[in-house]
């Protein structure tokens, strides 16, 4: 019964996507839009398959992935460390709390010009842009997750003679893992988006650069391909992250 319900839900969910593709094809076949403005779905997906097999395209994708993971990895390390420290020490909490409150609603992409000026046009400025955008959700989620950990857990560990710092890492952080992972997942999707935008604004390689290059040369088909690639990339990363989360959170009662 439940399996059948899930299957039906999946089928229902495919309907709007199929409808969009159909409408796209219909507009194209009816000649409502010239192919220069809206290429046929077949042309776009053929081009996508072709590009995914071409080493040059994969090199651009690899450049994007490198920046994405470098920035996200840094954000994860710094965000989790600061979040735990802010819960563990009143002083750290008192300093980071207001700073986070001031910086979190600021549109971080506006800082990108500053990174270009200080770090140059290379990878470093893009990694920095990914880092500042991804670090806040991770930091805030870690802070909130560790703050609501059942105090008895920490008391028991402390009573058993564990030092406060060790207690934070071995008891509080694992107990806050669901919240930390939620923040990390949001950070990961944000990283995907920011790296693409940064490459669109100034870059000589990467998926975002391919989109801008195609736009300048008026190659409409090639404009769709990087966009579909980044969407697929986001979906894949999200699925991989969910699988990892399910493994890490085995035994947490309320997590599915």
């Amino acid at each position: 019964m439940i399996r059948a319900g899930r299957l039906a839900d999946t089928l229902i969910g495919l309907v709007p996507i199929a409808l969009i593709l159909l409408a796209w094809q219909a507009v194209h076949s009816a000649g409502l839009a010239p192919p220069a403005l809206l290429p046929s779905p077949a042309a776009v997906f053929t081009r996508l398959a072709q590009q995914l097999g071409s080493p040059a395209y994969l090199e651009h994708a690899a450049a994007t992935l490198y920046r994405l993971f470098a920035g996200f990895g840094l954000a994860l390390a710094v965000g989790v460390a600061l979040g735990v420290a802010a819960t563990g020490s009143r002083a750290v909490g008192a300093v980071t709390g207001p700073i986070v409150r001031v910086l979190a609603p600021v549109p971080k992409i506006a800082l990108y010009p500053a990174f270009i000026l200080t770090l140059g046009f290379d990878d470093a400025s893009k990694i920095a842009a990914v880092f500042v955008d991804a670090v806040f959700p991770i930091l805030i989620a870690t802070r909130q997750g560790t703050a609501v950990v059942e105090p008895k857990l920490a008391w028991s560990a402390r009573a058993a003679g564990v030092s406060p710092a060790r207690c934070l890492v071995t008891v509080v952080l694992p107990a806050a893992l669901p919240s930390v992972l939620t923040g990390a997942r949001i950070g990961l999707v944000i990283s995907c988006i920011v790296v693409f935008l940064a490459e669109m604004i100034t870059s000589t390689d990467g998926l975002g650069h391919l989109l801008v290059r195609a736009a300048r040369n008026f190659q409409t088909v090639d404009m769709f391909v990087p966009l579909i690639t980044i969407s697929l990339l986001g979906l894949t990363l999200n699925a991989a992250f969910n699988a990892l989360r399910a493994r890490l959170l085995r035994g947490f009662p309320e997590e599915s």
Partner: protein, 260 residues
């Protein structure tokens, strides 16, 4: 978040001053053209705000943002609430939203520009798309969490389905919806700036990047400060509105999510 005891709102001000001081010290220590000290950048701010042309640009940006935000909320809240109340509607929209989510909305600019031109329409559409997703998501969560008994009582008293959605689900889900709107507001600002960076014609992002190209670094940093303060002010204003509307609900513990 921790607050210093005493005057509320003092801690963020201290943090703000601290960040500016840190910037000033770092800039003087590093001493490169690309990073002017805070004092020089801040000295540019009054000049920009007094210049009618940049005021027109900022006004045009804000107009597009407000329009995109209003349209986004108007469409996303009903969709989200219906998703929350009906499993089939949720199953219908969920995969589509999952596919759209990781696409940078501002990256659609080049394609949308082909269809709608470089003007207000394409930028407003992009802002609309950026705002819609978080608002749909939070309205969905809010609609799903509505107490069933209230709906049963209303149905028993003869209230029809559309009236139930409007008079019970909407108010009950309002706190969660407003959390989504707050995220949407920050996103609207981000999408606005990014879309103007990509299609430079007018607006805040245009001033920012033109001064970057012309090596007017003080103006670049002044614009970054103006955009940052704009984000802070909008967020603070919305938080007051939220507190006034749904002061009865728990203060929002939601994550501030800044996707583009």
């Amino acid at each position: 978040m921790t607050r210093l005891p005493g005057i509320p709102g003092l801690a963020p001000l201290v943090a703000f001053a601290g960040l500016l001081a840190g910037w000033e010290v770092a800039a003087r220590g590093i001493g490169i053209d690309g990073l002017p000290p805070a004092s020089r950048a801040l000295a540019e701010v009054p000049g920009i705000l007094a210049d009618p042309e940049s005021l027109i640009n900022i006004g045009a940006s804000l107009y597009r943002m407000a329009l995109g935000f209003a349209l986004g909320v108007a469409v996303a809240v009903p969709v989200g609430l219906m998703m929350g109340r009906s499993r089939h509607v949720a199953a219908f929209f969920n995969p589509l939203l999952m596919v759209i989510y990781p696409v940078p909305k501002a990256a659609l600019m080049p394609i949308i520009m082909l269809w709608l031109g470089v003007g207000d329409a394409s930028k407003t559409l992009v802002i609309f798309l950026g705002v819609s997703l978080p608002v749909v998501y939070h309205s969905y969560q809010g609609g799903r969490a509505v107490e069933e008994k209230m709906l049963w009582s209303a149905a028993a008293m003869g209230m029809g389905a559309p009236a139930r959605l409007l008079r019970i689900v909407l108010p009950a889900a309002l706190p969660e919806i407003l959390v989504g709107c707050r995220t949407g507001l920050v996103l609207a600002l981000i999408t606005m700036v990014t879309s103007e960076m990509i299609a430079r014609q007018s607006g805040v992002g245009n001033i920012l990047f033109n001064s970057l190209d012309m090596a007017q670094y003080d103006t670049v940093y002044a614009m970054i400060v103006i955009i940052g303060v704009l984000g802070l002010a909008l967020d603070a204003a919305f938080e007051r509105l939220r507190a006034a509307l749904v002061g009865w609900a728990e203060p929002s513990q939601a994550l501030m999510v800044g996707t583009t």
